[in-house]
Amino acid sequence: MHPHTVDYAIIGIYFVFVLGIGFALRGRMKTSEDFFLSGRSIPGWITGLAFMSANLGALEVMGHAANAAKYGMFVNHFYWLAAMLAMCFVGVFMMPFYYGSKVRSVPEFLRKRYDEKTRTLNALSFAAMTLLVSGVDLYAMAILFERLLHWPFGASVVASALVVAIYIYLGGLTSSIYNEVLQFFLIVFGFLPLAILGLKAVGGFAGLEAKLPNPGYAHTWANIWHAADNPMGINWFGTIFGLGFVLSFGYWCTDFLVIQRGLAAKDMAAAQRTPLIAAVPKMFFPLLVVLPGLVAIALDPTTKLMMGGRYDNALPAMLGRFYPSGLLGIGLTALLASFMSGMAGNVTAFNTVLTFDIYQTHINPGKDDQHYLTMGRLATVFAVIVGIGTAFIVLRFNNLMDYLQLLFAFFNAPLFGTFLLGMFWKRTSAHSGFWGLLCGILAAATHYTLYHFHYISYPSDMAANFYQAIWAFAVCFCVTVVVTLFTEPRKEEELVGLVYSLTPRPKNSDVPWYERPGVWAIGILALCTVLNIIFW
């Protein structure tokens, strides 16, 4: 990859715009609600694209291209099985509780549904996870800078972190969301030519299928029945229950990183539509990441020629192979945009949870609003500094995807059990949330320790992550149920707006049928089923 002046100019223009959006919004951050929730004023299409984009970090883009090169079309399950169902579920069934209860964060919802200790446990575990994840994007960004500009790794990390810190410090969540929309379009337009040129180079789909090192790579579902048949070494139970249910619902339905985008929407309809709008581009994302990964392995079956022996290099290697100067600048900008949107999503979610759920609740309650606005800005700086530290932890791991799925299996998987019971079973008692969550996290830790020291084994690290998630969820679920049966239920009138069976349904009669979230969800799932069948 040899960028020229024109490529550097394109990257430079991107930085000017990203920082410019931060400066343009600087004057509008008057209250903490403006800074942390964008004053709940953003239209649905913008929060929807931001919802999608906040998730498009290094993991999504480089990680899934790498997985496609390593495991083939099996990776499509992350999109067409996992993300679609969960995104439709959160839009139709869960967003009404999040948005309707006027909470400012996911931990705050847990305080309303359960109690203070449940909220604090979740706030602490979420804050820890977010900081560990934000290092991944910073690491990926710094590696890119290092290769391009030949800056040392440390200087690259600090420079990348600084840009993100400045635009969030100035414009808060709004700045992050607006930049995510810009970043979304840059990612799409930056990677689309890769799919077109890559397919042309291997001779279309038929040519691609013929060139893949293993014919199983061209199928999403065909090899799922036995673990030994597919390269990831996971059978249908691990895939459908572990990935499709526990990990994906845990992520899309409870991770404040994405939920926060829905809370910034201007009204309930826009909030419900946020994940549904995001699901549409998400469905077609395999075209932008899985396809280039497959082309990379078809052109370079030994990974030595283009990818330098590392699957993680699949996407950058494809950019270097097919993009001439000019377009290369656009492609590199798209990579940078994806890392920045991922990092910014983590930072905005972290500063909100730290300020509201930890600082305002336990350290310094009862101050005026300006105090918490300032605290949010300081939390932003703090998050970025710690993120720089975690980038060096990531440097010692050599596989991004395993690191991330491991964190999700620790923190998100048990949380979904707490939410599922809390929202859909009114008997669930106040104490049970805390104990369920704690035992779920401990179960994940125990499983990890046993696996790490080889007391139990799986065909691949990814399989271990899926089963860890299943155990964490199952333990959280059972402990919550058992504790509930031995403790007092909460009064029903306190749970209105928090539990499905006690909350009046929003009136749909004045909304035309084609604007109803349920209808959208059915349409999305139908289209997704068609894609699953085509690429069976």
Binding site: I21, L25, F189, L197, Y323, G326, L327
Partner: protein, 69 residues
């Protein structure tokens, strides 16, 4: 929120489109033989970016006009 995000998106994509079109027109054509299978991808993709940029800019412009009146 006073800032219409479609305007900066429109401007940056138009700018990128123009840069790519010019670069595609003046660049040494051997880079396209070597990289992009002989297609002058800079020129064509530049056009696509420009069309998208102008479209976003036009949407933002129309929205600002209707707010004024």
């Amino acid at each position: 929120m006073g800032l219409d995000i479609r305007m900066p998106i429109g401007i940056i994509f138009s700018l990128y489109g123009i840069i790519l079109i010019i670069y595609g027109a003046v660049a040494d054509k051997s880079i396209f033989q070597e990289k992009s299978l002989g297609v002058n991808i800079d020129l064509w993709w530049g056009l696509a970016l420009l069309v998208f940029g102008v479209f976003m800019g036009a949407l933002a412009f129309r929205a600002s006009r209707s707010r004024e009146s």
